[in-house]
């Protein structure tokens, strides 16, 4: 497996090298939701890699190695030696189609040789919980599904993913990886502390939360945000929700705000908030956020890894960026500190992360650092 990385900020940091272009080549682009400043760079990529499969997503900050870059294109070119790739997409016209979207993508990609799926999805019009449920309804749990939801800085207005070489809204794109040599590891950790009392969800519908303990949910958020309430929905990221479903033995999930509605005092989250669940506001703890990133890397347990050339796709939540601010790169350094030398890290700040839970079933996460590590093992194929 060969990798090359380029950054476009007004100009390319070095000339795009099309030599890795092939049907077995994957090009991943992360960039700003506003395309004006990077349109030229995007054209360059499409021209340079006519045979390659191109994926991409808008972000709230692009990651290259231990650096956060803004308003840029971060391009990773990965040429696989012995791994087959299939790229597919599904248009979502209504949030309610999310489950079907997940199901149809899984059906399209699933063969006995399928080793993993990597997903980049629209960040505002997709219900991540329903989408992952759709995938799980088809896929056996031993096939890891990772990825993330595209972002729009802290504006929550418009996101894109690359469809047929062009940025487009309202799509889910997914890459299937097939073959014996391809290796995938993943890890995902948060690092948030619970704040205050636990509350019951007394009114909700899918991913829209209306009331907690019979009080308007938005009112509670505003009270906690104080003067920063003006910055909603972005500042809502400072207080994600810890969600424990009624009667469920699963680990608590973290839910993050996508939108607010002043009229009905509701808040839209990236995943479902079931009625009767109990939720607790969460607050950042700087050290623990950074530790969380480090732990995500440690979680991957690289026993099989033998110093091969490899790529780590880091998808971290926009909420973490909002909290860590200028110190955000500490979490990028933390993951690299743990990962082996030959691992290259790219990624983006997202509106939601997808990775398997302990059960093996994938689910939508929020406010985490989620890592996906890819490499082709050196062992000869049989």
């Amino acid at each position: 497996m060969q990798t090359k990385f380029s950054v476009f900020q007004d100009t390319w940091n070095h000339k795009l090298d099309g030599s890795l272009d092939s049907p077995n080549t994957l090009v991943i682009i992360f960039g700003p939701s506003k395309l004006d400043d990077v349109a030229k760079g995007l054209d360059d990529v499409i021209q340079a890699f006519p045979q390659s499969l191109i994926m991409g997503a808008s972000s709230a900050g692009e990651i290259l190695h231990d650096e956060l870059i803004e308003n840029s294109l971060v391009v990773s070119v990965v040429k696989f030696e012995d791994t087959n790739l299939t790229l597919t997409q599904h248009a979502i016209t209504d949030t309610k189609d999310s489950f079907d979207g997940g199901m149809s993508i899984a059906e399209e990609l699933f063969t006995p040789e399928l080793k993993a799926i990597f997903v980049l999805s629209d960040g505002l019009n997709v219900n991540g919980s329903q989408f992952t449920k759709g995938i799980n309804s088809v896929l056996p749990s031993n096939i890891p599904v990772t990825g993330g939801l595209a972002a729009d800085d802290d504006r929550f207005e418009k996101t894109w993913v690359i469809v047929d070489g062009k940025p487009a809204q309202g799509y889910i794109t997914a890459l299937g990886l097939y073959g014996d040599r391809i290796q995938i590891k993943h890890g995902s950790k948060g690092g948030w502390d619970k704040l205050g009392v636990s509350r019951e969800v007394t009114k909700s519908s899918a991913n829209i939360l209306y009331e907690l303990d019979n009080q308007p949910a938005l009112e509670i958020y505003k009270k906690y945000l104080g003067s920063q309430a003006e910055g909603l929905p972005g500042t809502g990221l400072l207080f994600p929700l810890s969600l424990e479903e009624k009667g469920s033995k699963n680990e608590a999930k973290v839910r993050t705000i996508l939108a607010v509605n002043e009229q009905d005092q509701s808040i839209t989250f990236a995943g479902d908030i079931p009625l009767g669940s109990s939720v607790t506001l969460m607050k950042a703890n700087y050290d623990r956020l950074v530790d969380g990133a480090e732990n995500a890397a440690k979680e991957m347990l690289l026993n099989d890894y033998k110093d091969e050339n490899s790529l780590c796709i880091a998808i971290s939540c926009v909420g973490r960026r909002l909290v860590l601010k200028q110190r955000i790169e500490e979490e990028l350094e933390a993951t690299l500190d743990v990962l082996p030398k030959n691992v290259k890290q790219v990624g983006f700040y997202s509106y939601g992360e997808i990775s398997p839970l302990a059960s093996g079933k994938c689910d939508l996460q929020n406010q985490t650092m989620t890592l996906t590590l890819l490499w082709e093992s050196n062992a000869s194929p049989t």
Binding site: L195, G196, V197, K223, Y224, S227, Q228, F239, K283, K325
Partner: protein
């Protein structure tokens, strides 16, 4: 250097060797400025969220406090309601470790009549038994030791004086260190339950109609009786009583009359049942009587009395009813060693009695049965025999030792049974004693003996006396004095020619009344003899106490006299003593001339025995007397 400052310097491309231009400094300042603003914002956010969160917590705490207080109040009200309701049936109390009662609920007054003060101050006085006091102390001690105690029952005196059974359950009150500091108790009056239980127990064990033990109770008692008799190696009798033709009474007069008759029969028999014996009704007209430690003779007497009691004419409402009973008898251990076998065999014996014509009894074991039936037939035959003149008197002469002349005779009864021939008195006197026939027979003997001696004396011109044996029953139940008096008048016998012979045992048993009776008899001029002297108690004191004239020395002493054994100290002493006490001595059972000579030497005035004559009929006696007078 702070990590953030380091990163900020990195952002402006700063390195140690390079000098910062204005542009870089301006950018760095912007970054630092932003970092300060960020920090302020973070701090404000945290401060605000902490304040909000703290307020929420406070509110939550107050709500919780309110609801928990409400809960406590609700619980307390519930407890109070519960206690108030329970107080109709229970009362509550507590006492400290010193045993001093410090609380009792109002309901105690309802249950025991005392005021609360009375109860608290005088509690222990109301415990009626030592057992209750001990029990209360024992449980109190254990509770203070932290032991879990079951409920227990105390006998408590109600203020109205009645004794109440109070069931008490006590629980220790523990302090924070789990040390017992007091005791709380719940008490309830279970007197009614206990009475009901006893009533139930009584009903389970007693026949509903008659109130005597039922079959269930009988079997229980029988088990105990068997165990006791087995241990003591003793006998007892089990009687199976069935009323003859009782079914007819039920069928013709109705069950109501039948029931009343059964009750009447039970009431009649009940008083003759001893404390340790059992009288049970096990069926319509079937009863069982268990009699402990009874001799065969007394048993038969009891059975006959019982049959007699049943045989009477009963007046039930306006009906005169005649019934009889059949009784089967089984004896432990001969006829069975367990209750089932004994009852079965008594039942079989009862059927045997029914088969021979009812109104009789039968023993299960043939041998005993036969013997007893024989005695009964003798008994039945005796009255008839007297009528048919089957009884006769034989007479044994009494002689003067020196002259060998007949001085008197002793009358001895014989029964000339039409089937059995001559029956010895040994075989029938005891039966006659038991049945009371002896009185009738005794009167006949006295009259016959007196007539005979008068006849002989007249015929032979002699002055013989006649000695007549009398039994205890005659002295006890008959007016012997009157009988003798009228006989003297009737037969014209000289009173001095009558001698009454009594045994030592009669004198001993009936000593209280007998002195007067004997004195009365003696006042008629009749002579009193002590028979068989030396075989019984041989107490010298009563020789003085009773008005005795003649001492008849038993044959056993005379038997001692033989040519090889000359010195017979006892006989010598008795004769000497008689002489000293001024009693006439008569030696009985003299069989050899040597014995007579010996008696002569001792100055014993009279003798009787086969040496001269065995007891003989009147005709033979007359011949003997006539021979001597020739």
């Amino acid at each position: 250097m702070h990590r953030l400052l380091k990163r900020q310097l990195k952002k402006i491309g700063y390195s140690d060797t390079q000098e910062l231009d204005n542009e870089s400094i301006k950018r760095l300042l912007d970054l630092v400025d932003q970092a300060y603003k960020d920090a302020d914002q973070d701090r404000q956010l945290i401060e605000n969220s902490l304040e909000v969160s703290s307020m929420e917590m406070q509110k939550l705490y107050e709500e919780l406090k309110k609801t928990s207080q409400q809960k406590i109040q609700t619980t307390e009200e519930k407890y109070e309601r519960l206690v108030n309701n329970l107080q109709h049936y229970y009362f509550f109390y507590s006492h400290g470790k010193d045993g001093v009662y410090d609380y009792v609920s109002h309901s105690m007054t309802k249950m025991l009549g005392y005021s609360e003060d009375e109860f608290l101050n005088h509690y222990s006085q109301f415990l009626t038994t030592n057992e209750s006091k001990k029990l209360a102390n024992k449980f109190k001690k254990h509770t203070f030791e932290g032991l879990e105690q079951p409920p227990y029952t105390l006998n408590f005196k109600h203020k109205d004086g009645t004794i109440r059974n109070i069931e008490v359950m006590e629980l220790p009150v523990l302090d924070d260190e789990r040390k017992v500091i007091a005791v709380e108790g719940i008490a309830r009056d279970i007197t009614d339950q206990i009475n009901a239980r006893e009533q139930l127990n009584y009903l389970a064990q007693h026949d509903a109609l008659t109130g005597i033990p039922n079959r269930y109770s009988l079997l229980n008692k029988l088990e105990k009786i068997i165990r006791r008799n087995k241990r003591d190696n003793t006998q007892f009798a089990l009687l199976f009583i069935d009323l003859d033709h009782f079914k007819n009474i039920n069928d013709t007069l109705g069950h109501n009359i039948g029931d009343k008759l059964i009750n009447a029969v039970v009431n009649k028999i009940q008083p003759s049942i001893r404390k340790n014996d059992v009288f049970a009704r096990i069926g319509g007209d079937e009863f069982i009587i268990v009699i402990n430690r009874v001799s065969e003779r007394n048993l038969i007497g009891f059975i006959k009395q019982t049959m007699e009691k049943i045989r009477e004419e009963w007046l039930i409402d306006e009906f005169e009813i005649q019934i009889s009973s059949s009784i089967g008898i089984a004896i432990y251990p001969e006829d069975g060693t367990d209750s089932q076998t004994l009852m079965k065999n008594a039942d079989i014996a009862m059927y045997k009695a029914k088969n021979v014509g009812r109104d009789t009894f039968s023993l299960f074991t043939d041998e005993i049965n036969q013997q007893i039936q024989e005695e009964i037939s003798l008994e039945k035959g005796m009255a008839k025999g007297l009528e048919n003149q089957e009884f006769v008197l034989h007479y044994q002469p009494k002689l003067d030792v020196n002259s060998n002349k007949i001085v008197g005779i002793e009358a001895l009864v014989r029964w000339n049974h039409p089937k059995k021939g001559l029956v010895s008195p040994v075989d029938f006197i005891q039966i006659a004693e038991n049945t009371g026939f002896i009185i009738k027979l005794g009167r006949w003997i006295i009259e016959e003996a007196c007539s005979t001696v008068t006849r002989i004396n007249k015929k032979c011109h002699t002055n013989l006396h006649v000695a007549i044996n009398v039994s205890a029953r005659q002295i006890e139940n008959d007016n012997l004095h009157q009988v003798l008096k009228s006989t003297i008048e009737k037969t014209n016998v000289e009173p001095s020619q009558i001698q009454i012979e009594l045994t030592e045992s009669i004198l001993m048993e009936y000593s209280k009344n007998i002195i007067k009776a004997l004195k009365d008899i003696k006042s008629l001029g009749i002579v009193i003899c002590m028979d068989d002297f030396g075989t019984g108690y041989s107490s010298l004191s009563y020789l003085n106490k009773f008005p005795i004239d003649v001492l008849k020395i038993d044959k056993v002493f005379v038997d001692e006299i033989s040519e090889t054994n000359e010195g017979v100290i006892l006989l010598d002493s008795i004769i000497a003593m008689a002489s000293t006490l001024n009693l006439q001595a008569v030696a009985e059972g003299v069989e050899t001339p040597f014995q007579r000579q010996y008696l002569q030497k001792l100055d014993c005035p009279h003798y009787q025995g086969f040496l001269f004559s065995k007891p003989i009929p009147e005709e033979e006696l007359i011949l003997l007397v006539q021979q001597q007078s020739v």
